[in-house]
């Protein structure tokens, strides 16, 4: 069976609702709210309709759910792990940028 399909880009150009973030990640609402409040999953906007998030955070929220399940982490531990992973991601990006600048 061959299927031509819808492709959604998970980047800063698309915003998703709290509901979509919960559905795609498997996190519980209370957990996600705690991660939002701790700053590990920062919303881009809180309008009347509720929180909006960059679609890039779907990847982060899915990682959060995996870490919670696979390491049996509580939410504060999860929040710390996410912040450290984000720091690693930023540093890796910086290393990649510096490497690209170096002549071969």
């Amino acid at each position: 069976m061959t299927v031509e399909t819808e492709v959604l880009w998970l980047d800063e150009h698309r915003e998703v609702s709290m509901r979509e973030l919960l559905e795609t990640s498997g996190l519980r609402e209370a957990e996600l709210l705690e991660l939002v409040h701790s700053g590990a999953i920062p919303p881009s906007d809180r309008s009347g309709a509720g929180y909006q998030f960059s679609a890039r955070l779907i990847t982060v929220a899915r990682t959060a759910c995996r870490l919670r399940n696979d390491f049996e982490l509580d939410t504060p531990g999860l929040s710390l792990a996410l912040r450290l992973l984000e720091r690693v991601r930023e540093l890796e990006e910086e290393v990649a940028q510096l490497r690209a600048e170096l002549p071969r």
Partner: protein, 308 residues
């Protein structure tokens, strides 16, 4: 199906306590979890460890696993005919032993009646910089679990075609809703996630939407200035190199990088290298010698001042 030695996967004895099993799992998970590990083959290794732990941490599943007996890892085998009836409870008499995975024996085990959502899948995909620039249609051959009418799991080959518009960068993630594993009994289908990386290119080094390119110049081109032809993803362009251009200088060709999904594009950044011919002819040598004699340029002037 092939037998999987779950105790060996966790590195514990068959008689290990629940606590020993949990500790072994945690240690291995920290080492191989794909979200935190950079070890080669970490993902496959973690999958093995997690599969073993899922079964051994549950006393009922562990008893069922133990009842299969101990065999060498990977040995071809079939569960005894009455195994499913004895261990997997009612409603599970129709195990399919032929096309199932070993792990499916135990995942089916805890399956409840009612809607079961399909599994999400994350698939790494490598594309060329040219394809990221022009856009491309991926054709992915995947093996997905599906449940038949009676709820038996089986693996089904599936081809998913996905159009990737121009502008993907290294690390781009894409979500294909509903293209993961099929849900069962009214459960929603899972999603497919693509994790895109760009193949290394002989000329361009991408960072975000920008591309770096080494630009080798002859000493006289760097000194006198020159107009040189530079390859870009949309064809060669002329680049004016100003006189007195030193090595490592960056010359920016605005908008010649990778396109951005919402319009615009990154830059192509040419990094200057001064390249000297390894072998010079007689005439060339004379000219160099003449230059050496008449030039007062001292590139190491700051050495004399102690670097200040």
């Amino acid at each position: 199906m092939k037998y999987a030695d779950y105790y060996a996967a966790l590195g514990v004895e068959r008689g290990a306590s629940a606590d020993e099993i949990r500790k072994a799992y945690r240690r291995l998970a920290q080492k191989y979890h794909p979200d935190v590990s950079k070890e080669p083959g970490a993902e496959a290794k973690f999958k093995e460890v997690a599969e073993a732990y899922q079964t051994l941490k549950d006393p009922e599943k562990r008893a069922a696993y133990d009842a299969l007996g101990s065999r060498p890892q990977g040995e071809e085998f079939r569960p005894p005919p009455d195994w499913a009836r004895q261990h997997a409870g009612s409603g599970s008499a129709q195990f399919s032993f032929d096309d199932g995975d070993f792990a499916d024996l135990f995942s089916r085990f805890s399956a409840r009646n009612g809607a079961m959502p399909g599994e999400d899948f994350e698939v790494p995909v490598e594309i060329s910089i040219e394809d990221a620039f022009r856009g491309t249609t991926l054709s992915l051959s995947l093996s997905m679990p599906e449940y038949d009418a009676s709820g038996r799991p089986r693996r089904v080959p599936r081809t998913v075609k996905a159009r990737v518009a121009p502008g993907a960068v290294d690390g781009q993630r894409l979500r294909l809703p509903g293209k993961g594993g099929k849900g069962a009994q009214g459960g929603r289908d899972g999603d497919l996630y693509l994790d895109i990386t760009l193949k290394p290119h002989p000329l361009y080094r991408p960072t975000g939407h920008d591309l770096y390119l080494d630009l080798p110049l002859a000493p006289w081109e760097a000194a006198l200035g020159a107009t040189v032809e530079v390859p870009t993803l949309s064809g060669p362009v002329s680049l004016k190199v100003p006189a007195g251009t030193g090595a490592a200088r960056k010359l920016r060709l605005a908008g010649r990088g990778l396109p951005k999904p919402r319009g615009g594009a990154g830059d192509l950044i040419a990094v200057v290298q001064i390249v000297v011919p390894g072998d010079v002819g007689e005439r060339e040598r004379e000219l160099y010698e003449q230059l050496a004699k008449s030039s007062e340029f001292n590139p190491r002037r700051h050495f004399a001042a102690g670097g200040t």
